[in-house]
Symmetry: C2
Subunit: 435 residues, 2 copies
């Protein structure tokens, strides 16, 4: 039996290669979406696709695919991947690990087939989604949202970063806005470092992400009156930054109140503030704040969301400025495909693991994909739960094991393995039936 | 008698010319220190100096002088001027009016002398101080502080803007860092729009600024831990922006408490915040805040200053981050020269005004100069008290009258006019005796 074998050395080699593109002195990674560094790592991935005979495609929002046709043009496409963009001054694993492991999993299957393994019943695709992080352009999950049809490529292209640069311009500058049609996936599997502490705390190595928290992301605008901090009496101030500070404190209070007598069920954060004119002796005339609310419970999220508008009003009134929610998006909580989650669970157990079922607070592109096709996320531990920070770290053996599980899941899904899943189905069928 | 006559048309012409350099669509001015726009307006001033036979000098921190030698190389130098730099997105009058009016006052004296008026007993100089505003580089009053010897030109040159550009690099880029020795002034008179509401409220047209408020300017650093806003539990957050918000609210409370049962005697502001990494889904790891405290009373300022350190500690502790005052400067309250103030008062009365005595909350370069030589500031009204805003406005007739008062003060000080002041001196002497 020629089951595919993961090339562990190649996995670590690719991880190191990508981490060198946008590396920071602290050992981290700074590779925000559609930057020059993002362009270089995309070129590197394209080269890898070509060297391994995956057909490279780039769609109008810059999503980058590498396709391996194993089962003919009409066979279902099993897509796997993640994202190569990073937060500013962040770590080397978040996103990149999933892309690299997907490459190696597909390469292992390709090699096994070449060596005479049973031919898979599906085609395989590796994907690198554009602007997953939402650091340079908001919203996050941008490329996968366009893929899922909840955002048009045209609207996405018009989004601007803080310097007013449009996404389409930025993609053009690195050569990654093209006209290829995005290939439709029949199923999607994403491997990702946990970016949280639960696997480590529980002493587990494989997480099966079966659901995601809901999130409200709101941009709040406070408009006061720009004035000289010297001669402008306090009673005449219309200080937009003071209003913003009151709101930041109020947003934290939302979480503290919701979590007072229970496990934490509401995360509430203001993480970005743009102050204008941001000069030490000019009363700020305008501040934009990016507010995030996250909860696994629809009712908790709705209550906090409803409170947000009144907190904006109160903070604005206390500072004598005008406040409003200028834009917002709501992502309801949801569940990944149960069968796929079961399959990951079974594959992990077959490899000797006791997998942990997880609800992800962070968003992943798999959430966008879940609206189109059965999707799931597999997690490996993050040391200390640290993410979006140069200290982000996952042990080599956990990286290897996660990639091995991904490989086995893909192999089973394509109807070429799947012992345990076949049993569940009552024999004869395979997970590929679902895709 | 050939008393100098102000060329009102030329005054308004120069005001309009300078306002076109860095003009904004809103009718305001954006001309921060050592920017390309600042370079252009400096070139324009140099051209004016040359066209009017004033000798142009530029010292190592970019202070720009135009000297008119009327009384021989050993005679005292009467300096007058202000600054051509502006706040971001600010108005057309703050600073520029004083420079332009000084040019026209000196030109009027020059013309009168050429037409046979009594020769002045002093030389005249017009000055444009570098980075008065403190918008791009902190501290404010930068050029005049170097002139006064409280800051070295070398240390000033090493200051950086928010993009890490050094002042000396920025000055080199516009060609305004040179080796000329700054000419020592025997007296300094600065004309400036009030940037406050008091003249307008009192229905007066000329203000004699006889004192200034004290000020503490502090940079506060909050250092937390950068983390993903998704998977990082609220209890594990070390959110530097939350700490910053708590401090901004506490700083406002300092003012509210001090002013609760009295006229306003404490202004307390946070007007600039730099958030890192400032991405919507990354808990901010570091925030810098610029805090300003201003009071006319030394004890009030000292109490607030002492409270600031403990407020920083409390805000940091409440957010689980480290907080510290990273840098601070203290400018004690003080008085301008009494005789010079009396002279301005007398000149204004001679022209039919009832001048208002003022204490300036905003800093002016004259505060730096006051440590070296008799100095004073003359104010004209600002409509609505508005300053550091595109709506900044002073009526043309007030602009003319202010320039006329400046001209008469210079003329008296040089011992060529001075009826009222001569009377005060007991006759025979002149204000020039003081310079």
């Amino acid at each position: 039996m020629s089951r595919p074998v993961l090339d562990v050395g190649a996995l670590h080699g690719m991880l190191a290669e990508q981490a060198a593109i946008g590396a920071t002195p602290e050992g981290g990674l700074h590779r925000v979406s559609a930057s020059a560094e993002d362009g270089r790592v995309r070129d590197w991935l394209t080269d890898w696709f070509r060297a391994h005979e995956l057909r490279p495609l780039v769609d109008p929002v810059g999503n980058q695919f590498g396709l391996l046709e194993l089962a003919g043009p009409d066979a279902p496409l099993l897509l796997t991947g993640s994202h190569l963009d990073s937060q500013p001054q962040a770590g080397r694993f978040d996103g990149a690990y999933g892309v690299v492991a997907s490459c190696q999993a597909v390469a292992a299957i390709q090699a096994a087939v070449a060596a005479g393994a049973p031919r898979p019943r599906c085609n395989l695709g590796v994907v690198n989604w554009t602007n997953e992080e939402g650091a340079r352009f908001q919203p996050s999950l941008l490329g996968s949202s366009v893929y899922a049809g909840t955002l048009s490529a045209a609207a996405a292209g018009e989004l601007t970063d803080r310097d007013g640069v449009r996404l389409d311009e930025a993609l053009d500058a690195i050569g990654y806005r093209r006209g290829d049609a995005a290939p439709p996936a029949s199923a999607y599997v994403e491997l990702h470092v946990e970016c949280g502490p639960e696997l480590e705390a529980a002493g587990r190595r494989i997480g099966v992400v079966e659901s995601w928290w809901g999130a409200v992301k709101a941009t709040v605008e406070m408009v006061g009156r720009q004035a000289h901090t010297g001669p402008t009496a306090m009673r005449d101030r219309r200080d937009a930054l003071y209003a913003a500070a009151l709101l930041i404190v109020a947003v934290r209070r939302l979480a503290d109140e919701a979590n007072a007598d229970a496990a934490e069920v509401l995360y509430a954060t203001v993480a970005r503030a743009e102050v204008s004119p941001n000069s030490p002796n000019v009363v700020p005339g305008r501040v934009l704040l990016w507010v995030e609310l996250r909860s696994p419970h629809a009712d908790v999220l709705e209550r906090a969301h409803a409170r947000l508008a009144s907190e904006v009003e109160q903070a604005a009134a206390a500072a004598g400025v005008r406040g409003r929610v200028a834009a917002e998006s709501v992502r309801p909580a949801g569940r990944f495909d149960r069968e796929l989650a079961e399959l990951v669970d079974a594959v992990a157990r077959r490899r000797g693991h006791e997998p942990l079922r997880l609800a992800t607070v962070a968003a992943h592109d798999a959430i966008s994909l879940a609206a189109l096709a059965p999707s799931v996320v597999v997690n490996v531990p993050s040391a200390g739960g640290i993410c979006h920070h140069p200290d982000e770290y996952t042990a080599p053996e956990d990286l290897e094991e996660g990639a091995q599980v991904l490989l086995d899941v893909l192999w089973d899904l394509c109807g070429t393995g799947g012992e345990s899943h076949s049993r569940k189905d009552g024999g004869g069928g395979s997970a590929a039936a679902g895709i």
